[in-house]
């Protein structure tokens, strides 16, 4: 392997969002969801792979006797059951799966379940399900798709009979966990036993598991080691309308797998009425529609375009609070900053409103992916009580990213305020930059948002744009993630999945050829693919890491630079959201604290200093939380980096990658780390043009500034950067100074001066460096 990668170790750009836990926008999920499973060496794999844990233990899997004595399922015939039979089994005194007596809570929930819209069509569902291998299922939000359909399938598949599970995918980690918990309650079993979930870095299943909720990314990872998904008898792709990268890839894979495995059933579930596209794609599969239980929503537009949508939104919320009947408000904004800022403003405004009028109280709750879970929970709190008995009712106002558009259902919303924007990931293959940009939403999104107002009673939706703009300026459907992403990681996964023909791979929406070519070339520079586009040994190994290929390559090559321990830490740190906090009111203090950790060579080493200090504190048994608070660091993100590090370490050990460090007192300690960084990030280099302006190299070729957060003490003409930030100005962020010699030495393919085109000054500079290197080598040889 050393040979293979020696000449072109490499790297590419990282996406703008780095977090494995950050589910901020729906667009990030796929990459984020990569698991850290690993081993490819099949037999060995099973022992290490949490999700393959019951692969070979059929004996105690769905243990002998299979069903508890007297189970109501005893006379069920697989794939021939009826809704009536199932209902009877559900009504029994004992749990048909565990034999335990049913709890009181079980019957309470059962009653509620029978009121869900899907329940009325259980028989109809079973008829279609039994008749057809693939089924498309459409139901409005809240109709019971996610919670009920998998249970209906379990009662018909009887997974304990053939040791094959039922899987239901979710685009979001949070959804997978919470829905699994809910369904465990509904079935009256313990989470992790009959019903489990599997998300990145957490596998809560056991040998008893018959129904498994999991992220789409996790199922994709499993497919890398089990090409036909042989452990499942039925796969349910939920929230397919979200069209995440992983769901799209899964659909294409499953389209093939269902042909090869006639026994495998597939259900594609979607909340929106674009199901025809799914039907057509899946060989004209039958469609089942469950009407929702929603109420009409009146839609309002502004007569003129709104100059400032945030201000307009704030006013609208206050107007609703002052003038409309009881009911909670849901306002869609684009991101954390905007949301927090608006929350603050609205709260202040409401205080004023209350002083001046007889308005009721209002709780304002933010909602976005990076919000700590306990704070997210606040959105489910009941609205505040009136100030005094008989006073004007209190109200809840939730200000959310598009996370509340489909995946999170909040009851009680009667008013929706929709400025028409969301943050969407978009990939520019020329710049090789993935960024989150605020863009206008699609018509489909706007309808989905409006629908949120009709869950409890008839509602109203206030759109902060004109009806004409809605009709003429909004696109019909949001572009699927696969058209908006860097595909380097996807191509690596596809190769590992055994997909030979990328050109004719049957995706629902194939990406642009340019995007595909860029991905292939990036992987080629990283030596993950050879010149023919075939997976190399390095590429195969890199695909085992739930990381961007460049990061994976950097990690894999780090032992050669005697710093794999440090690079492991850095990789983990780069995989979580920003660890430095900078609260609006305390920026100066925060910057002073950051200076304590400053390393003159740049941000990466500064982050490493923080991590070492953090581990030191924990090691001494001190209060890490308090320490983080004092130093304006995110305890949560540092802890999660710690967790990610542990997972990555396991993968490294599994694959025999050495964990080594240079002696801390060695003067090459930091140099080695910087060189190892270059081995991964050589495609993200900027060279100084003048005092403040740098220019990124090769195709990217853009003038950039160092992000104001950058710590770079020494004067460096050449830097590597972790992200390219596109805002009003172009920045590079998380930067470390390097020596140009390293580029020529570590990435000769990418920095091949013979074939260099454009950027003459850079070529000149590199040529001078090359000459110097040659002279030095000659001198050494001559001596």
């Amino acid at each position: 392997m050393a040979d293979e990668r020696s000449s072109k170790v490499s790297k590419l750009e990282r996406k703008r969002s780095r977090s494995p836990v950050d589910t901020n926008s729906s667009t990030k999920r796929a990459k984020v969801e990569k698991t850290e499973d690993s081993d490819d060496d099949d037999k060995k794999a099973i022992e290490h792979n949490p999700y393959l844990s019951h692969w070979n233990d059929g004996s105690n899997g769905f243990s002998e006797g299979k069903l508890p004595v007297g189970s109501a399922l005893k006379h069920f015939k697989r794939r021939q059951t009826t809704a009536k039979q199932a209902s009877k089994a559900e009504d029994g005194d004992n749990n048909p799966f565990t034999g335990e007596p049913h709890s009181e809570q079980y019957f309470t929930i059962l009653k509620a379940r029978r009121n869900l819209p899907v329940h009325k069509q259980r028989q109809e569902f079973l008829d279609s399900y039994q008749k057809s291998q693939i089924l498309v299922f459409v139901g409005e939000t809240g109709s019971g798709k996610t919670t009920q359909i998998p249970q209906y399938v379990v009662y018909d598949e009887l997974p304990h009979l053939n040791h094959k599970m039922v899987a239901c995918t979710q685009p979001r980690r949070v959804a997978a966990m919470s829905v699994a918990q809910r369904v465990a309650d509904e079935l009256d079993v313990n989470i992790g036993e009959e019903v489990g979930y599997s998300i990145r870095f957490e596998d809560k299943t056991s040998s008893k598991t018959i129904l498994k909720y999991m992220t789409d990314g996790m199922l994709l990872r499993e497919a890398m080691h089990d090409h036909t998904l042989s452990r499942y008898s039925c796969i349910i792709l939920d929230e397919a309308h979200e069209r995440t990268l992983a769901t799209d890839i899964l659909m294409a894979l499953l389209k093939g797998i269902t042909q090869r495995r006639p026994d495998l059933k597939l259900i594609v579930m979607s909340a929106t009425l674009d199901a025809q596209k799914f039907q057509r794609y899946f060989f004209d599969a039958p469609l089942l529609v469950v009407p929702g239980r929603t109420h009409p929503v009146e839609i309002f537009y502004t007569p003129e375009p709104e100059k400032d949508y945030v201000e307009g939104a704030i006013r609208t919320v206050l107007q609703i609070h002052a003038g409309e009947a009881e009911g909670d408000i849901l306002l869609f904004l684009t991101g954390e900053e905007e949301i927090e800022d608006t929350c603050r403003k609205i709260s202040l405004e409401v205080d004023e409103l209350i002083r001046e009028t007889d308005c009721g109280p209002m709780n304002v709750c933010p909602l976005y992916g990076t919000l700590p879970p306990h704070q997210q929970q606040r959105i489910f709190d009941p609205p505040p009580a009136p100030f005094k008995k008989g006073g004007r009712p209190g109200r809840k106002c939730i200000i959310s990213t598009n996370i509340a558009e489909t995946s999170l259902t909040i009851d009680g919303i009667v008013y929706v305020v929709d400025p028409g924007f969301s943050k969407q990931k978009i990939y520019n293959p020329r710049l090789r930059v993935e960024s989150l940009l605020v863009s206008a939403i699609s018509k489909a999104s706007a309808q989905q948002r409006a629908g949120r107002a009709g869950r409890t009673k008839p509602g109203k939706c206030f759109r902060l744009y004109t009806e004409k703009a809605f009709k003429e300026e909004l696109i019909e459907q949001t572009y699927p993630e696969i058209l908006r992403s860097n595909l380097a990681n996807t191509v690596l996964e596809l190769k590992k999945l055994g997909v030979k023909d990328l050109v004719h791979f049957d995706l629902m929406d194939p990406p642009a050829p340019e995007t595909m070519m860029r991905a292939l070339e990036e992987l080629n520079y990283l030596a993950c693919l050879d010149d023919e586009g075939e997976l190399t040994q390095l590429g195969s190994l890199a695909s085992e890491f739930p990381l961007d290929p460049a990061l994976a390559v950097m990690l894999i090559s780090s032992p050669e630079f005697y710093c794999s321990n440090e690079i492991l830490s850095l990789t983990a740190l780069l995989s979580v959201p920003q660890i430095f906090l900078r609260p609006a009111q305390k920026r100066r203090e925060a910057d002073e604290m950051k200076n304590l950790f400053k390393h003159n060579d740049g941000d990466h080493l500064t982050m490493l200093n923080v991590y070492h200090a953090f581990k030191g504190i924990l090691g001494r048994g001190e209060d890490g939380k308090k320490w983080c608070h004092q130093h304006y660091l995110s305890f949560r993100h540092l802890s999660s980096a710690d967790n990610v590090r542990a997972q990555l370490k396991r993968i490294m050990e599994t694959h025999g990658l050495d964990l080594v460090s240079t002696d801390f007192s060695d003067r090459d300690y930091y140099t080695n780390i910087r060189r190892a960084l270059v081995a991964g990030f050589f495609m993200q280099v900027a060279k100084r043009e003048n005092n403040k302006i740098y220019r990124t190299l090769k195709d990217n070729n853009s003038a950039v500034m160092l992000h104001p957060s950058t710590v770079l003490g020494a004067d460096y003409d050449w830097v590597i950067y972790n992200e390219f930030v596109l805002t009003s100005k172009q920045y590079v962020r998380t930067v470390t100074g390097i020596r140009p010699e390293w580029l020529l030495e570590l990435a000769p393919q990418y920095y091949d001066l013979e074939s260099w085109e454009g950027q003459k000054d850079v070529k000149q500079a590199l040529k001078a460096v090359a000459d110097k290197m040659r002279r030095r080598a000659a001198m050494k040889a001559g001596r």
């Binding site: 529609v289 629908g451 009709g454 995706l507 920003q578």
Partner: protein, 232 residues
């Protein structure tokens, strides 16, 4: 990523919260006006009522299809309905006579159908080869798997994929949808003097037009070009 507005409003953020001008004093001053939608309220209950009596699966899907289908179906029909004329060209699917009339007002009827723009647009291989750098590794791999860069096809089982990556511009303001913003201050300054001088503008337009005409004559008079376009 929590710091996009770093440079821009660092100053304004320094003002302590309690000293900031209360924002809402404007609420009464400036109401947001709304008008009801002329059509398209969400009325899902009514739409779905007929199917609530859980009929056989067919009927439910039919209802659904009837909601979704008609528009698409009609569109494809009208295309064909437009072409009932007897002589239909195999290549462009347009009536041979009609096309030649409509194609080029400049030189009526003398032009053969094959020379009409509508026909030429439909001819395969009449476009120039792609400008892609042929030495690219990514291109070589896609070509090896059967993708032809010059055929203007996308990827996918039916080559149906998009041809070019989706583009988006960064948005760094809170201007609402539909507001027309001048591109940026610099270009606006440049445009202003031109707008003042209507004569100049008219002259530029006519210059443009003449240049276009000249180009057209060059192409359509030129036997080389016609050969390339497959007209001879």
């Amino acid at each position: 990523m929590a710091s996009e507005e770093w440079s821009d409003d660092a100053e304004s953020e320094e003002v302590p919260l309690q000293h900031k001008r209360p924002f809402g004093s404007g609420l009464k001053r400036k109401r947001v006006v709304f008008v009801p939608a002329s059509s398209g309220n969400l009325n899902s209950t009514e739409e779905s009522k007929p199917s609530e009596s859980s009929g056989p699966s067919k009927s439910v899907s039919d209802i659904y299809l009837s909601i979704v289908m008609p528009k698409g179906a009609e569109e494809t029909c009208t295309d064909e309905a437009n072409a009932p004329a007897p002589d239909i060209c195999d290549i462009c699917k347009l009536p041979v006579n009609a096309a030649s009339d409509a194609a080029d007002a400049g030189k009526p009827s003398s032009r053969p159908h094959q020379a009409s723009i509508a026909h030429q647009v439909c001819i395969a291989h009449s476009h120039p080869p792609s400008a892609l750098d042929r030495s690219r590794m990514g291109l070589a791999v896609l070509e090896a798997q059967g993708w032809d860069p010059d055929a203007r096809n996308g990827l996918g089982a039916l080559n149906q994929g998009i041809s070019f990556p989706i583009k988006a511009k960064p948005k760094n303001n809170t201007v609402g949808i539909g507001v027309e913003v001048p591109k940026d201050v610099a270009t606006r300054k440049k445009e202003k003097p031109q707008m003042l001088n209507a004569k100049k503008v008219r002259k530029m337009a006519s210059d443009d037009k003449r240049r276009q005409e000249k180009l057209r004559h060059q192409f359509y008079g030129n036997p080389e070009v016609e050969k390339y376009l497959g007209l001879s």
